[in-house]
Assembly symmetry: C2
Homo-oligomer: 343 residues x 2
């Protein structure tokens, strides 16, 4: 679609700014004024008159065509990190006047996955937040048209897209290092079924840098109940004094297993988790963990998306927001489930 | 829209059945055959020939207009009951070949709420599952056109709609009764911020029927951390021997507070929750609770929705599925956090 230079003619965005309304509200006004409150209608009409605004047909078409909804694409809506990221998206989207639609990607992959992506794009969202916490979701990136505003949260770097990075490798490295500092001879790792496990990589590298042999990681499921048996088994091994779990829910299951094996936390065994789950602080004893900034990541993703959408609405060339790479580092939170290695 | 009688002419649904594909796939085929796999295209073409199918213009228009997506309307995507219900919807929708879009209703209410409902309906979903766990979502029911297939999960009865009922009143009654049977003189209740609290009502009625005075319920937030202080305070009161919490996460916070007050669970104080949260079994000690059938409710909602959608696609009069009322009773799960009252 050709886009002419517009000189100093006011844009939809200018009118919105003068009227004190959001661009989506302006868009709604142009489509169907009755869907805007009377107060806003009056303000917009005054702004149109003041700026002598004459809708540019192309901008108007864009505004008309542009949904007021942001699509969140995610493969799962129950796992902690994803729900918290979505909550951050919701918060910021409400703040800037967009509605939210969550498209659940078909985890069976292949044609079914692509079909769920198409169904989502068919609804012409103003932009997409892709929660890229596994290989399946990452495979979706190449199927989103380059012209569609998008922010990716997590995943390997895609240079031509906006992306938020959660620095899990660094946090896992730091947690492992901290446990070694506390005098533990090594740190055992229990992994969740993530197919790209930066947490495991950070743990392994910290041990390697400290020239400590890495015990074989123990794999578990997303179901914390399955970690009970693992905790029991590790509890029977006198050499195990520190365990790092791939997430907090698994850490909780491990602690239950350790209790059943007659081990005290942290006196006999230190246990650390990952995420800072809502229940981590409530656990008995409260859980040492990495506080992940999931909510901030979701909110920041929407901010970047809004800048991209504004570029489209204002027929501007693409700004930095299309390729921004933001790092949101996690934070070590030491509570009562970790302590010095027993003598 | 007038709908003529079609006699024995085959419908889209008949063709789909013979071809062994879903109605949404048929619909996709009619819109854009390239979006259907070659294998299915061949099967559909053969079925069309076999049945001598000639698309009825009205049925075709309906099929073309009909999205292959089910919209889930919900006010929150982080609370346990909602995520589990949504997971049930996802499971069944995938099974029958529909994609899922979750519309997050604007919890600020009023015009913003209605605007988020309109944005969702503008995308012409094939049907709506409304997760009606509070007054805000319940107020949405009257804004969904009667012609739109819909199943409501939870909420007060709407006679003219399909609805799934979770029987929380009955379960809370039974749990309270069970705690009294264990010899507790009364049961204290700690409530979550639900504005329609069938759980509290069931607790109150069970006490009343047993002619036991009801202690004032203690209100807390959705954040389990806030329950710690309440647990501590209740733990300081020697008369408190049994506590029933509005959900499991609150029960976990209470147990942490009781531990800080030096009380043993269940020896000194019994604690029961509600929901059967993924972590209830993992807690130390494992939590007595009510197993809610959230996932089943979501799946059943989609089954009823599918029957309604089929009525529309096949131009049939409305069947029972439009007004079915299904009850999915919870189940008492006694674990180790409750026991006989201490002497």
């Amino acid at each position: 679609m050709p886009r002419g230079k517009r000189g100093n003619a006011p844009s939809i965005r200018d009118v919105a700014a003068v009227a004190g309304v959001s661009v989506p509200t302006m868009s709604r006004y142009l489509k169907d004024p009755d869907r805007v409150s009377e107060k806003k209608r009056t303000a917009i009409a005054a702004a149109i008159e003041k700026l002598n605004y004459r809708p540019n047909p192309i901008a108007r078409a864009l505004a008309l065509d542009m949904s007021e909804s942001i699509a969140v694409m995610t493969a799962d809506t129950t796992l902690y990190g994803r729900t918290q990221t979505i909550a951050g998206v919701e918060r910021m989207a409400q703040e800037i006047g967009y509605s939210i639609s969550i498209c659940v990607l078909d985890a069976r992959g292949g044609e079914k996955l692509l079909s769920s992506v198409r169904d989502c794009l068919d609804r012409s969202p103003a932009g997409v937040v892709l929660i890229d916490y596994d290989r399946l979701t990452d495979s979706v990136v190449s199927h989103i048209p380059a012209s569609t505003p998008m922010t990716i949260v997590g995943g390997p770097r895609h240079e031509d897209r906006a992306q938020i990075h959660l620095c899990e490798y660094d946090s896992a490295y730091a947690m492992t290092q901290r446990l070694l500092e506390l005098g533990h001879k090594t740190v055992h790792y229990v992994s969740v079924p993530a197919d790209v496990d930066a947490r495991a990589d950070g743990w392994r590298m910290a041990l390697s840098d400290a020239q400590v042999p890495a015990p074989a990681p123990v794999a578990t499921t997303w179901n914390p109940e399955d970690a009970i048996a693992i905790g029991r088994e590790l509890g029977d091994d006198d050499d195990v004094t520190a365990i790092f779990a791939g997430n907090d829910e698994v850490a909780m299951g491990l602690m239950r297993g350790l209790a059943l094996a007659g081990r005290r936390v942290p006196d006999d065994v230190s246990v650390a988790g990952f995420d800072d789950h809502t229940l981590a602080k409530v656990w008995n004893p409260p859980l040492t963990t990495v506080r992940q900034r999931f909510g901030d990541a979701g909110a920041r993703a929407v901010e970047l998306l809004k800048q991209q959408i504004d570029d489209v609405v204002n027929e501007r060339p693409r700004g930095e927001a299309w390729t921004t790479f933001d790092e949101l580092a996690g934070e070590l939170v030491e509570r009562e489930s970790t302590g010095p290695a027993r003598r």
